[in-house]
Amino acid sequence: MLDFVQAELGGDQVIASRWRPTGANFFSRIKGADGLAIGREILGEDWAHRHCNDKKSPLCQALEKAFADGDAEIDGVEPEARARAKAWLPPGMGLGVAAAPAEEPPAEAGQLPAFLANGDADADGSTESEAA
């Protein structure tokens, strides 16, 4: 059921925009070799070569930085690889489905979704439901 809801909500983007793998929540909890393999697959051979002798802690930090959201550039990582890393999700969390055209971006704290913020919007919603 989660897969279908996730696909309908726009694919992996709905997760990737709200959760990113960090050292604490993911990379430190898998084997270092697996973390390096993920880095090699997503960030490229050059990145993996630079970090192949890292201990687990600095490797986790490097992976966290490379897979974090935001516009920070990572040394030696191509923009395309960085974009892949920002959208990457661990197995089981992603569908491998490309993000659909964006619906609504995550709102800021304290802000209600449009359909809840406006009390007069009921008529529109009910019309859509009936039409469907």
Partner: protein
């Protein structure tokens, strides 16, 4: 209906293209898998909270599944229930995620006065006056913020007062 990818719907309305792209080879422990699942569910809850049409479709679909006995539950024609999904994580980091903060902000901004009991002192003073046009409505029956998209007439204070005043809530 937007849940066309479900196996039950596929069986009913015809197959769709299958995509099986989960061929990555990262070994994940059971505890980590459970935590990732909780984070995923939390993110989807936040996404659903912003997509009323899909949330409505999902509700209808799950009710239909129950009624049509598609989900393994039998003899349950119309017992509608609602409960929050209980998520657990071994790392107690669920509250700090953007999805959790997004959901908390939505919940905090919701006008929930209709669901609140009146203050105990007010009830003890004069239960009959509770909710009779005293400025701050005390429950939904008083029309503080009526149910959305129902479209029916708003409840009157008199109906609400009947609901509130005779209750044994102590």
């Amino acid at each position: 209906m937007r849940l066309r990818g479900d196996p039950v719907l596929r069986a009913l309305f015809g197959a769709e293209d299958e995509t099986d792209a989960d061929d990555q080879s990262c070994r994940i422990s059971g505890a980590l898998g459970q935590d990732l699942g909780a984070h995923r569910t939390l993110c989807l809850q936040a996404g659903l909270a912003r997509d009323p049409e899909l949330a409505s479709d999902l509700l209808l679909y799950m009710l239909v599944r129950d009624v049509l006995r598609c989900g393994g539950y039998w003899d349950k024609p119309s017992e509608i229930t609602a409960r929050p999904a209980h998520l657990t994580s071994s790392q107690s980091d669920l509250e700090d995620t953007p999805a959790a903060k997004e959901l908390a902000a939505i919940r905090q901004a919701l006008p929930m006065s209709f669901a609140m009991f009146p203050p105990r002192e007010q009830m003890e003073k004069d239960p009959r006056t509770v909710g009779r046009g005293q400025g701050q409505p005390s429950c939904g029956m008083h029309g503080a913020r009526p149910h959305r998209s129902v479209g029916g007439p708003r409840s009157t204070p008199q109906r609400g007062a009947r609901f509130c005043s005779g209750r044994a809530w102590r």
